[in-house]
């Protein structure tokens, strides 16, 4: 597996929001995840960006302006004041119980949206092969309304950005909930294929995701839904995931992938009902990485804080192709991981796997039959993309070029250190380090 350039986006503030007492969505999980990632030393293999915040203008690429204007203005205070103008819209935009108005709501949205947008841009400009934004992945948000803890759909906005350069974008969703917002946004187009693996039935949120939702018009067969039942384990999940994604790659041949890694499909999630381990969840991520397509990796659900942090840290390491120890490094959040303090705690789910082998086989077969229908259709014109007029990052490098230096800085930057490189560069003469502890 070739080394892939990885960029990681994290805004130190994004974790410090609070949805309200008792609300299962805890942005702090992002801070815990980041702390683990850093303390595992994973920064050594990736670029870290503090992403810019998305503007309202960015959000308007997908959302309606009334809705975004509302998100910008609403605060817990002007709702409490019972000013009719705000409360009236509460129901209209589905903001309320599930999606409360909390302090800094719009800031929060612009942070995670900006990160996804920037990730997409880095992929477009080929500055990275994999971009990671664990704060993103809010896949339920609709054009006109909030839904399922999601306000602004950063995935849709990110995909729209990718569509500037990529004729076909594949969206994969391994959240326990159906990725309805993204599917709906691209329901009529063949330029985005959405594939969602989720719990379906018994009115499990959001209630969509039947396998007969295939897309419509030119998007028919470009929405793929894999309804699963509760208690699915690692082996069964991968037994479904691998053949379906392989088939999607074969028939659709996407040029970019967006992978939503909702961690509520893990065992023991407060809201989920699957029985995946962090390893099983990560196996899907690893598989997608192995496809060697530019990939934007985003977070999503995940409501048992400690497991979310474990899962996404593990997946960061997989995306970097780095082995990390099972024992967690000491961080300020160390006590969240009691009592085992390990990255891969044992899964002891009492949930029986309700997915029979026969059922899973039928689902895979059904999906495969539908995928065959779009074999010849992707109707995106294969126009040669003219190069960017200016590549800013390229320019930045070129300025530093010094004709007297044999290996210019810019050239050196492009060299990715191979894993078996034992020398620290041209200057490393293998002298004993003077400052060894």
């Amino acid at each position: 597996m070739s080394d892939r350039r990885v960029s990681y986006f994290y805004n130190a503030d994004v974790g410090n929001f609070h949805y309200g007492a008792g609300h299962p969505m805890k942005p702090q999980r992002l801070a815990v995840t980041h702390s683990l990632v850093m303390n595992y030393g994973l920064h050594k293999k990736m670029k870290i960006y503090r992403p810019y915040k998305a503007s309202a203008q960015d959000m308007l690429r997908f959302h309606s302006d009334e809705y975004i204007a509302y998100l910008q203005q609403v605060t817990p205070q002007n709702i409490q004041c019972n000013s009719v103008a705000y409360t009236k819209y509460l129901a209209h935009f589905s903001v309320g119980e599930d999606c409360p108005v909390f302090d800094g709501l719009f800031d929060f949205c612009s942070m995670y949206t900006g990160a996804s947008l920037e990730g997409a841009q880095k992929l477009n400009q080929n500055h990275s092969d994999i971009c990671i934004n664990w704060s993103g992945g809010l896949h339920h948000a609709k054009k006109f309304e909030a839904s399922g803890f999601c306000y602004v759909n950063d995935i849709v906005i990110g995909i729209l950005e990718l569509l500037k350069y990529h004729p076909r974008v594949l969206y994969i969703d391994i959240d326990v909930h159906h990725g309805d917002g993204v599917q709906e946004a691209f329901y009529l187009t063949d330029r985005v294929m959405t594939v969602s693996f989720h719990k379906y039935g018994n009115y499990f949120f959001p209630g969509t995701g039947d396998m007969y939702e295939l897309g419509n018009e030119s998007g028919r067969y470009y929405s793929v839904n894999v309804p699963l039942k509760e208690g699915i384990d690692d082996q069964s999940y991968f037994q479904v995931f691998k053949p379906i994604i392989s088939a999607v790659m074969e028939f659709y041949r996407p040029t970019a992938i967006v992978l939503q890694c909702g961690a509520d499909s893990l065992a023991g999630d407060r809201l989920g009902c699957f029985s995946l381990s962090t390893r099983g969840h990560g196996a899907c991520v690893k598989f997608v990485r192995g496809l060697n397509v530019p990939t934007l990796v985003v977070g999503g659900g995940g409501y048992t804080l400690r497991n979310v942090a474990r899962c996404w840290t593990h997946e960061t390491s997989l995306l970097l192709d780095q082995e990390i120890a099972n024992d967690l490094p000491v961080t300020e959040y160390y006590d969240f991981f009691a009592p085992d303090f390990t990255l891969h705690p044992d899964v002891n789910s009492r949930q029986d796997n309700a997915n029979s082998k026969q059922y899973l086989e039928m689902i895979v077969k059904h999906v495969y039959e539908n995928l065959k229908m779009c074999q010849h259709s992707p109707s995106v014109q294969m126009v040669q993309t003219p190069p960017d007029t200016i590549d800013l990052e390229e320019l930045r490098m070129k300025e530093e070029t010094d004709p007297d230096v044999r290996v210019s800085q810019a050239d050196e930057d492009k060299l990715i250190e191979p894993k078996n490189e034992f020398y620290d560069g041209d200057q490393d003469q293998d002298k004993p380090d003077s400052v060894e502890s």
Binding site: A12, D13, N16, H18, G22, P24, A31, N39, H43, K44, K47, I48, S55, D58, R61, S64, E97, D98, Q121, H140, K143, F144, L163, K164, Y165, P167, A185, F186, Y187, L188, R191, Y200, G201, F204, F205, P206, G207, T208, E213, P227, R270, V330, T331, E332, D335, P339, S349, R350, S356, Q358, Y359, M362, V380, Q381, D388, T389, I416, E417, V435, S437
Partner: protein, 622 residues
């Protein structure tokens, strides 16, 4: 259609049956709140049937075949009504019906994907079937006796017995004759003697039929009508299928054996006797009105043009409030045409910041650098009055803050060894890395700046909390729970909301929190615990916290301070918090309509809670 489907009464289901070819299955579901499996599977059979023949009879036959396919046990069930009616000479009714499509019926049952997706489970149906069978089991003899008695009765008496209703119904029902035709089978079973009279009578009423309907249609309607009667009377569709087959066998001879209306009435009253009033009286009333409605339904609506799919869609809409993917400009994203490229201006207003890029320098050099940075800190701690956010809170807390201000559990646990750890474990430090990037990977410059305390990202790093702030914060938590806005307004005005949230998470796992709550034991204490909800990660973090927890419990009168009591309490709080039921949690707030749904919902959420408790307990056990 919708209207009737929404309700559960058998009579209403009958309408479904008559209006759609797959009504059989729909009405089946009607009582149970499930509809998908049967609806779809019978559609399939119906389609296959309609390929071979457009004859509505065969459609009905396939209907029966479906019934048999889906619920193999129906066969048993079917025998009981048959025996109850089969008096002396009609052995055919006891045997499994021989319909023209019996080959179709013999196909082995295989669940469709739909059935599997929607948790197809025959158990419920079986149970209901068996319950019904039990209900009927005790009365066949009774019924036969009644029938026999009535068969020996002179026709005049019978007429007198039932005349009232007949007169009322006659003018209202243009196809009344066919209804009586439908009852012919039973007539033949019990009272062959009277057949001749019956024919005469029917012929008399024949003209009241709509002029347009041909013989074939007449038979079709007969079947339909017949079924209405049966369904209503038996409130059991299984027996209907049995009757149905019999009728189908007889349709050829139909014109010759039209029975007297009395017979039908007789049958109805008889069953009224058999079933308890409360379960049945209503249905027959509804049935009557339905009959009227029914007779004005055009034939093609009954068997021809109705698209089962449509019905199902509308059913699920009205029944489930099931969400569907919406289509329209209000829902879909606008996809840019073709490909484009960025113009001169990047599409973003706010610049991003590169915090760290690894490829510029070697890992080892960075590690050296970070070690030096840490040395800088430990040798000159007084310079660092700022806590540096994520990566550094540990050390700084240990060095300067923790002892006086935040005795976080991390600090306590690792405080003793912290100074050693700094030496051995290279801590990764985002700020220091960023500094290095800013200095163009010049290690010396970065270290120099570090010493001068020129830190980047100062603005968003969290400065350490004073003891006063901590106390105020704790008071706030007790007063307002996790309402950080209130805490900020009333307690800790010196901090931003962001800082409060961050502090909360660092504080909640700390010993300080345990201690403070052990001291100030109030009702609020419990509230906070409740608010905590499911994200408590157990309390296995060191002995100190456990003991303080225990004492708080015992002073509250909950548990006795040992581990078990404590975790049971956790379980309770978790249950409370999950019962808040966000719709994303269970997804079915909106649906308490059918009992079965409600049950499932409850089951689901119990499972959820159990899991949580399980989770917490396993953590506790270790």
């Amino acid at each position: 259609m919708k209207l009737y489907w929404a309700a559960n009464s058998t009579a209403k289901c009958i309408l479904c049956y008559l209006a759609t070819p797959n009504g059989h299955s729909l009405s089946w579901r009607g009582g149970q709140g499930r509809n998908m499996e049967f609806g779809k599977s019978s559609d399939q059979s119906l389609h296959s049937a309609s390929e071979t023949s457009v004859d509505s009879n065969s459609l009905l036959n396939s209907e029966l075949a479906v019934g048999r396919d889906n619920t193999p046990t129906k066969r048993e069930r079917r025998k009981s009504p048959a025996t109850s009616f089969g008096s002396d000479n009609t052995s055919t009714s006891v045997q499994p019906p021989m319909s023209p499509t019996s080959s179709l019926a013999d196909i082995t049952f295989e669940p469709t994907i739909d059935m599997m997706v929607n948790d197809f489970d025959d158990e419920a149906t079986l149970n209901e079937e068996e319950a019904l069978a039990d209900l009927e089991a005790h009365n066949p003899e009774d019924e036969i006796a009644t029938l026999r008695e009535e068969s020996e009765m002179p026709i005049e008496e019978l007429l007198a017995k039932y005349s009232g209703i007949t007169d009322v119904e006659m003018p209202q029902l243009p196809t009344y004759s066919s209804r009586r035709a439908g009852s012919s089978r039973r007539k033949r079973q019990h009272q062959e003697v009277e057949e001749n009279r019956a024919i005469a009578e029917v012929q008399k009423s024949e003209p009241s039929q709509p002029s347009g309907s041909g013989g074939e249609h007449c038979i079709d309607l007969t079947i339909a009508q017949h079924q209405v009667v049966d369904v209503g009377e038996l409130s059991n569709l299984t027996s209907v299928s049995a009757h149905f087959n019999d009728v189908l066998l007889e349709t050829d001879e139909m014109p010759a054996i039209l029975p007297p209306e009395v017979e039908k009435k007789h049958h109805r009253s008889h069953l009224l006797d058999l079933y308890p009033d409360e379960s049945f009286g209503e249905n027959t009333q509804a049935l009557n009105s339905l009959d009227v409605l029914e007779n004005f339904t055009p034939l093609q609506n009954l068997f021809g043009d109705v698209e089962p799919e449509e019905d199902e869609d509308s059913d699920t809409d009205s029944d489930d409030a099931r969400k569907i993917i919406m289509v329209g400009p209000d829902y879909q994203a606008e996809i840019p045409e073709g490909l484009s490229q960025y113009g001169d201006i990047l599409p973003y207003e706010n610049e991003d910041q590169l915090i760290w890029e690894p490829s510029q320098v070697s890992e080892r050099a960075v590690e050296d650098y970070l070690t030096k940075i840490q040395e800088t800190k430990s040798t000159a701690p007084t310079e660092d009055s700022l806590t540096q956010g994520a990566g550094e809170v540990d050390e700084l807390n240990v060095d300067e803050v923790a002892t006086a201000v935040i005795p976080s559990s991390t600090a306590i646990q690792h405080g003793g060894t912290a100074s050693n750890e700094i030496e051995s474990v290279v801590k990764d430090n985002e700020q220091a890395l960023h500094l290095l990037v800013q200095c163009g990977y010049d290690f010396k410059e970065a270290l120099r700046r570090k010493r001068l305390n020129v830190m980047p990202l100062c603005s968003d790093a969290m400065s350490s909390w004073s003891e006063d702030e901590c106390q105020k914060f704790e008071e706030g938590i007790q007063k307002f729970g996790k309402d950080f806005y209130q805490i900020r307004q009333n307690q800790v005005r010196t901090r931003t909301m962001r800082e409060l949230v961050q502090f909360y998470y660092l504080w909640k796992k700390s010993e300080r929190r345990d201690q403070s709550f052990a001291l100030n034991d109030t009702i609020d204490h419990m509230d906070v615990f409740i608010n905590e909800g499911g994200d408590r990660a157990g309390n296995g973090n060191g002995n100190g916290s456990c003991s303080s927890h225990g004492s708080s419990n015992s002073s509250n009168g909950h548990g006795n301070g040992n581990g078990n009591g404590e975790y049971i309490q956790d379980g309770v709080t978790i249950r409370k918090s999950t019962s808040k039921s966000y719709s994303i949690m269970t997804g079915n707030n909106n649906n308490a309509a059918t009992a079965s749904t409600a049950n499932r919902k409850r089951k689901g959420s119990f499972a959820l809670e159990d899991d949580e408790i399980e989770d917490e307990c396993t953590l506790a056990d270790n």
